[in-house]
């Protein structure tokens, strides 16, 4: 690796004090931004790495970069962590990795810091290991007791079991104890209360029995209960952690930087550091980081992410722009009018937060089961204890029976039933490119009966494609493609592509220039030729997305464009309809564009020219009619609707705010997995309910035995293991 990609930060050595000020500001900014990660740590996303050679090549390239102290590639996360001196920039490292042939993107390390070390997962894993170790040893001793060890040997084995089980439970059971205590303190009951009670009661009575050379001790039951339940907790945690880390990576890929113009030239700053009055430069293809007003330059602006309109808007000096819009053709200088909290992006986020709170009221199947289960178990064991006390007058026997009832009914299977299924289902959907962000999203997805789609950017790619039309001939296209050459405007690119697909050689156009905001202009066979906006070439503007070609002295020629269909859109809509869902389209785009589009996909229920509030209101109306709505959208105009819907999905290309508001993110470009996701969610919920049935069935058989006083530790161990294993196996059957 050479140093050619590395650019020294500009320093003027003549006046050290002058340099100190911006430098200090930069250091302060980077310190604030890195937060917990510590200064000098940079993260890169490496989507293309897959092999041993990739790791070595990338690490060597990074290590050889001046200022880098160490670099480590993580292949599982497809990420590199670099420890470097403060002056090393991520852009330089990205260039260094690109130099050896790998795609790299900067990751905002502050966003990732939360999952950099998965402390909670590690904690659970340790507790699981201790519980597993103790359970195996105690079980070994218990087998000896069950097979007939008696008298002194049995007592010795019970004592050793106690010695292993009590400290192990004290350490491993802490998550349950804490949750149970938190619930009790607020006067509620959750699943952890009976668990804790069962574990503690089992240990207590067993210890008492052991001290009095009793025959039955439940140390093995207490510890294996802890082990099975921790396994469920850990599975649950892993699923969430994987989803969270993938979601954070998506957010971290969007590094909020802006080019600020100051007295000593341009500097790259964090968007958070911008204040109203600052001047920033937005290059063609760049997204507006803040709300502002154009002070210099002309261009066209794509507002589809905000409004759903596909026709680019002309932008010139004095015009207001808002965060999230994309600058298409010319560089713009923008004066910041609102940044951060006050920007329109943030106001939308507040709307989302309001709608979000209504969704949090959803109670998951597991919670509903726990709500029935926890009081039931307590009443049952209490009744058993009181009954046996009244019948025999023996407190010791009564408490023993109460403990047995609690152990046998204890929700090993219930604790595993939900996490095992959601882990299997989320893993399956993740492999198909869908990221489940929310724990209850699968259950909510299974209940959906109506799907509302946004158009632009969701069912389409937001990239135009040339429409076949009789208004232009092949010669016109050839010339238009020549005019479009060298322009990065989406319409120009669509023209070039159309010519390429037809195999046309493009004409030669002389003195081709791009007029930002208007189009391109050149000379062809001695005539002045223009390609661009209708009003610029002297044509009447229509409501379709169009580009006009005008040759001097001839009437202008119209090229119309339609939005490119997202791959899998037809399959997704068809699949959803076949599953029995009703499909609707709500778009902010013009009526005719939306209607022709809907006809192509076979959607009858169409609403066009919808404002963000209209979309949210539409969802509310459907909800009021008793429908459960799945909203699929990507834009800022969809966020309120996404948050208001029963469950929501957004593509990975969506704005950050939209992704945050949705429960599921589509990672790939293909939207076809959507239909199968609903099917998977439904079968997952069926499995969960089956598992509940299995668990209940076991209890129906085992509880009378326990209440009758016939439950031995062996019977308890068998019932517990058998139900846990059946439930886990049943979860794996998920298709």
């Amino acid at each position: 690796m050479t140093d050619s990609t590395y650019t020294e930060p500009p320093t003027a050595s003549a006046c050290p004090a002058c340099d100190a000020a911006p430098m200090a500001r930069r250091i302060a900014a980077s310190g604030a931004q890195d937060g917990a990660v510590g200064p000098g740590r940079l993260m890169l996303s490496l989507p293309g790495i897959h092999c041993a050679a990739c790791i070595t090549t990338v690490e060597r390239a990074l290590d050889d970069h001046p200022g880098v102290r160490s670099a480590r590639v993580n292949l599982s996360l497809k990420r590199a962590t670099v420890e470097a001196d403060p002056e090393v920039t991520a852009q330089a490292l990205v260039a260094a990795v690109a130099g050896v042939g790998y795609e790299a993107h900067e990751l905002e390390s502050a966003v990732l810091s939360a999952t950099a070390t998965d402390r909670q997962g590690r904690d659970l894993l340790m507790r699981l290991a201790v519980a597993g170790f103790a359970a195996m040893n105690v079980m070994l001793l218990s087998v000896a007791v069950w097979s007939g060890a008696a008298d002194a040997t049995r007592d010795l084995f019970h004592w050793i079991s106690a010695l292993i089980a009590i400290p192990a439970v004290a350490f491993s059971g802490q998550p349950f104890f804490r949750n149970a205590w938190a619930a009790l303190r607020h006067g509620r009951l959750n699943m952890d209360v009976p668990i804790t009670l069962a574990i503690l009661l089992a240990l207590g009575t067993s210890l008492y029995e052991t001290a009095h050379s009793g025959e039955h001790a439940y140390f093995d039951a207490a510890i294996s209960l802890t082990f099975f339940l921790l396994a469920g907790r850990y599975l649950d945690h892993r699923t969430r952690a994987i989803a969270r880390s993938a979601a954070e990576e998506l957010a971290a890929l969007e590094v909020p930087r802006a080019e600020r113009l100051s007295d000593n030239g341009e500097e790259t700053v964090n968007v958070a550091d911008l204040v109203p009055g600052d001047l920033i430069r937005v290059r063609p293809g760049g997204r507006m980081p803040v709300d502002g007003q154009i002070v210099e330059g002309t261009s066209e602006i794509d507002r589809s992410l905000l409004t759903g309109e596909t026709v680019p808007v002309f932008a010139e000096q004095g015009q207001a722009v808002s965060a999230g819009e994309v600058n298409l053709t010319g560089p713009l200088t923008v004066r910041v009018t609102a940044a951060g909290r006050d920007s329109s992006l943030h106001r939308m986020a507040d709307l989302v937060a309001m709608a979000e709170s209504s969704r949090n009221r959803y109670t998951s199947l597991a919670d509903r089961a726990a709500g029935l289960y926890a009081p039931g178990v307590h009443i049952l064991s209490f009744v058993a204890a009181v009954g046996w006390y009244l019948y025999t007058g023996d407190v010791r026997l009564a408490i023993n029976i109460a403990a047995a009832v609690l152990i046998i009914t204890c929700p090993c299977a219930l604790g595993l039933a939900v996490p095992a299924v959601t882990t299997a289902a989320s893993g399956r959907l993740f492999r198909r490119g869908m990221l489940i962000k929310d724990g209850t999203a699968l259950e909510r997805l299974a209940e959906v009966d109506t799907v509302v789609f946004d158009k632009t950017g969701t069912l389409t790619l937001g990239a135009p494609i040339l429409e076949e039309d009789d208004t232009w001939s092949d010669e016109d296209l050839r010339l238009a493609a020549a005019m479009a050459e060298g322009s990065s405007h989406p319409l120009s690119r669509a023209l070039s592509e159309a010519a390429q697909v037809r195999g046309h050689a493009v004409d030669r156009v002389e003195s081709l220039t791009e007029v930002p905001g208007y189009g391109t202009q050149g000379t062809w066979r001695g005539h002045r030729v223009r390609l661009g906006r209708a009003d610029w070439v002297g044509a009447e503007a229509g409501e379709r997305t169009a580009s006009w070609l005008s040759i001097e002295g001839m009437p202008p020629i119209r090229f119309t464009f339609t939005d490119r269909l997202r791959p899998g859109a037809v399959e997704a809509v068809q699949g959803l309809k076949e599953t029995g869902l009703s499909v609707a389209l709500v778009s902010g785009d013009a009526q005719t564009a939306v209607e022709t589009f809907a006809r192509r996909l076979g959607i009858d229920d169409v609403t066009a020219e919808a404002l963000p509030e209209d979309k949210a209101r539409r969802i509310e109306a459907l909800r009021g009619a008793g429908r459960r709505v799945l909203m699929v959208g990507d834009g800022l105009n969809d966020t309120a609707a996404l948050a208001a819907a029963h469950v929501s999905i957004s593509p990975a290309s969506a704005l950050d705010a939209a992704r945050v508001a949705s429960d599921i993110v589509l990672l790939g470009e293909d939207i076809a997995p959507l239909a199968s996701a609903v099917t998977t969610a439904r079968s997952a919920v069926t499995r969960i309910k089956q598992n509940f049935t299995i668990a209940t069935l076991y209890n129906v058989i085992a509880v009378p035995i326990a209440i009758a006083g016939f439950a031995t530790p062996l019977a308890a161990a068998l019932a517990m293991s058998a139900s846990s294993i059946t439930v886990s196996l049943n979860s794996l059957r998920l298709r």
């Binding site: 050679a53 290590d63 160490s70 670099a71 993580n74 292949l75 599982s76 170790f133 070994l140 040997t153």
Partner: protein, 56 residues
């Protein structure tokens, strides 16, 4: 049965050794990148200390 006096402590000690080893692997981040580690074993470079002066 006297042999139990040796066997039980020995079995507990050996099991405990395994547990301690597992603790150590978790604490030293050895499960952070299982996929990468399975590939790294094929690499000729000794990379326990990532940035040591390397022959170029």
């Amino acid at each position: 049965m006297e042999v139990l006096a040796f066997l039980i402590p020995i079995s507990l000690f050996l099991g405990g050794l395994g547990l301690v080893a597992f603790f150590w692997t978790v604490r030293s981040d050895q499960y952070d990148d299982p996929e990468g580690d399975s590939h790294r074993i094929l690499s000729d470079e000794y990379d326990e200390h990532p940035k040591t002066p390397r022959k170029r």
